[in-house]
Structures are given as C-alpha cells and as structure tokens.
Symmetry: C2
Subunit: 147 residues, 2 copies
C-alpha cells in the first residue's frame, strides 16, 4: 500500500462548457466574479477552492475520451446552501433569468430541508438548499454538523 | 432581474454511488475520514465544504430522471492539487490500490503542470495535479493566483 495519503479536500472543480464565454456569462449573471486566467480557461475563486470552466472538447482530449461521450449526467451535483428557506426560490429564479433551467422548484424534502434544482447552460446540475441541520459559518463555510 | 445574488461558493458536492458503503470504502482507503451522518448518505468534510455520497437511484428519483440516465460522463472533474510533482504518481497508485482506475498516468501537461487522472468506483473523474503557478496555502486551500 502506498504510504502517501490524500488530504481531505478538493482544489478545483472543472465544468466542461460548449461555449466558454457563454458559460461564464451564466455564472456572472448569478453574481459571481471571475479572476484573471489564461485563454482557454475561466476561473471563479470560491472558499478555499476554484471553479473552472473549460472547453468540452479540450477536456475530452485531455482525458482521452471521445468528445461525444461528454454530456449526459454522471451523477454529480453541486449544492449551493443558503441561510434561509426564503432564499431558495429567488435564487432559482435568478438562475432561470440567467438562462438556466429549473429542474425542481423550491420545496420541502423528506429530510427536513427546503431545496430546488437547476441546470446550467451545459446541463450541470446545481441544488439550492436550506439545510436547517447544517448552519453555514458567517463566512459561508459548510460542514456536515453545521457551525 | 431577481435582486438576490449567489454567494461565490459550493457547499456540498454529491457523488452518486451504486453501493454507498463500497464507495465510501474507496475514499477511506485514500486516507479520508467520514463524519457521522444519517442512513442513506455518507459525508466527508473538506475545507469549507462537504463531499457527500448518495445512492444513485435515490438521486435520480430526487431529480425526477430515470435511474438509467445516471452514468456516463457529464464533464465534471474534481481536482486534488498537491504541493509537489513527486506526490502525483504515488497518489494515483494509492487510488489504484483502493480499486480506482488510472485514466492518465502522471506526466507533464502543456500548461506547465504535472498531473494524472483516475476514476473512482462509480466512474467519477479525479485529477491529481501539481500546478506550479497556484501554490496551496499551508492549510491546503486553493485559489487561482496561488498563495
């Protein structure tokens, strides 16, 4: 067994995009600001990690898979948690106004949360969630047991 | 336009798994420790966010999509950045020993980094990367311009 261990963190989340600037425009319309980056990648710094947008064909090439095989739904969702139930519906609306598609409108779920889902322009799935059991830190950090 | 803005962060990354305990065993074999969570979800706290494992069929149901449609590759990769080039290959080996599949062995890439890719047991794609332009913070935080 290799002795080196993975530290417990994710540095960069990369989302494939068919049109980088258009994809970035969606996140900017949500209220996010990009940081300077080289041509071919667009970066949004988050808390302790970065969201990167990268050309779909280039990503397929990097991975050695056919470009047509990138799409569909691999079973990864990204959740944006909020401080109050009342924030969920307006954020879904904002995502829709930015060109996103609401997959599930704001509502209660069996585990006691209040959530909705939307897809971005490339079909990446986001949840907007209020989880009353996992309060965010003042800075917006999340951990399972809450702050 | 809705006035409410998205804060710039991702709280929870959820990975669909066909067998929750088996999927969790993979991440534990990488060196990660789970936190207590209710039945049906397994959680690993990261820096300011949590990685959650969730049953594939349950996720499909939550999203209102057929379970068979979950799979393939949606174009999301998760990158685990490391402090030195020398860490990349041993971590890929560790992932392979844990049952993962190496998709691209450790090597240089055009932008000046040194990286490799592996897939976890459910096909979720991880990059192990040394990026000389984006030095990690002592705590392991990442931002595009580095620390």
């Amino acid at each position: 067994m290799s002795h080196v261990k993975f530290e417990q963190r994710i540095s960069l989340i990369t989302l494939a995009a068919s049109d980088l600037e258009r994809a970035a425009g969606f996140y900017e319309a949500l209220g996010w600001q990009r940081v300077p980056s080289p041509d071919g990648v667009i970066a949004f710094d988050l808390i302790g990690q970065t969201l990167g947008l990268y050309d779909r064909a280039a990503l397929a090439d990097d991975l050695g898979v056919p470009a047509e095989s990138v799409g569909g739904f691999s079973g990864i969702t990204l959740s944006h948690n909020v401080r109050s139930e009342a924030d969920v519906a307006p954020l879904l609306t904002r995502a829709e106004e930015a060109g996103g598609r609401i997959l599930r409108p704001a509502g209660e779920v069996f585990w006691g949360g209040f959530i909705g889902y939307f897809a971005d322009l490339d079909g990446h799935i986001w949840e907007v969630a209020h989880n009353p059991f996992s309060k965010l830190s003042p800075k917006g950090e999340f951990r399972w047991e809450g702050y």
